[in-house]
């Protein structure tokens, strides 16, 4: 079973990503200008991946908090937990880079990346891909690609459709692992498994 957040990621977000893939195919061909057109699509794909993953992570945190709050012995305690576990979240103010996710899930007692890395082999590398995606997203959103490239901050140095697909694949696995680790933590806290 999966959380509603993961289901939305695997349906709504995937459908949005597929639209970009479709647009890529529609732009196809070898005419001059295609490279520029597909480059903009790749930038759009990058921004969309980052945005939807932030939405997923924030919703997963919401659901995990709700599961914890429902374990309270009365309504006042429940609301107190709900309020204090969701106020000033990093994921409201920042992209879903690993530090934001770690900061918010730490409120639930989770050392999330240690557990996610343990959950599936290769997740450490996928987390590095998340960092690369977010760095690229910021460069695109702030019109700072050249500046970031000059500082050597962008890896890879160009984005292709294959790059975006690689990021998408990495996020899919990370989303599944985050979903499982959050559910595990609810059980660790003595609560019913929420999903």
């Amino acid at each position: 079973m999966a959380s509603e957040s993961l289901r939305e990621w695997q349906t709504d977000a995937w459908a949005a990503f597929d639209e970009i893939e479709y647009a890529h195919r529609a732009v196809g061909g070898t005419k001059p200008g295609r490279r520029f057109l597909t480059q903009q699509l790749n930038y759009a794909y990058t921004a969309l991946l980052a945005a939807r993953f932030q939405g997923f992570a924030r919703s997963l945190h919401t659901q995990a908090v709700n599961a914890v709050a429902l374990g309270a012995h009365n309504a006042t305690y429940r609301l107190l937990l709900q309020r204090n576990l969701t106020r000033h979240r990093a994921l409201e103010r920042h992209n879903a880079h690993p530090n934001s996710i770690a900061e918010d899930f730490a409120r639930l007692g989770l050392d999330i990346w240690t557990l996610v890395d343990q959950e599936r082999s290769g997740n450490e590398e996928r987390r590095r891909k998340l960092w690369a995606l977010i760095t690229w997203r910021n460069a695109i959103a702030h019109d700072d690609i050249n500046g970031k490239l000059e500082k050597g901050a962008l890896e890879p140095t160009t984005i292709s459709l294959g790059t975006c697909r690689g990021w998408r694949s990495a996020l899919n696995v990370l989303a599944t692992s985050l979903d499982k680790v959050a559910a595990d933590q609810c059980q660790t806290l003595g609560l019913p498994r929420p999903w």
């Binding site: 919401t62 309504a75 709900q82 204090n84 106020r87 929420p194």
Partner: protein
């Protein structure tokens, strides 16, 4: 509080003015985001803001724990 309470458990919308219907809380706020039915039991979750638009506190609450009130 001076607010006139309305029916509970109705779906809340962005812009609704709300108060907590749980003992121990006497704040009033405004719904600033409908997070959908993300509750583990399928219940609606909303983001509310208490206080000023710039300096207010924002957090998520189960809609069941809120009552809509007149603005």
């Amino acid at each position: 509080m001076a607010h006139a309470q309305q029916a509970r458990h109705k779906s809340l919308k962005v812009g609704d003015h709300v108060v907590a219907n749980v003992p121990g809380f006497n704040w009033s706020g405004v719904v600033i985001e409908d997070r959908g039915n993300l509750g583990i039991d399928g219940g609606q979750i909303v983001m509310i803001r208490i206080g000023d638009e710039d300096d207010g506190e924002q957090f998520e609450v189960r809609a069941d724990d809120l009552d809509r009130v007149a603005a």
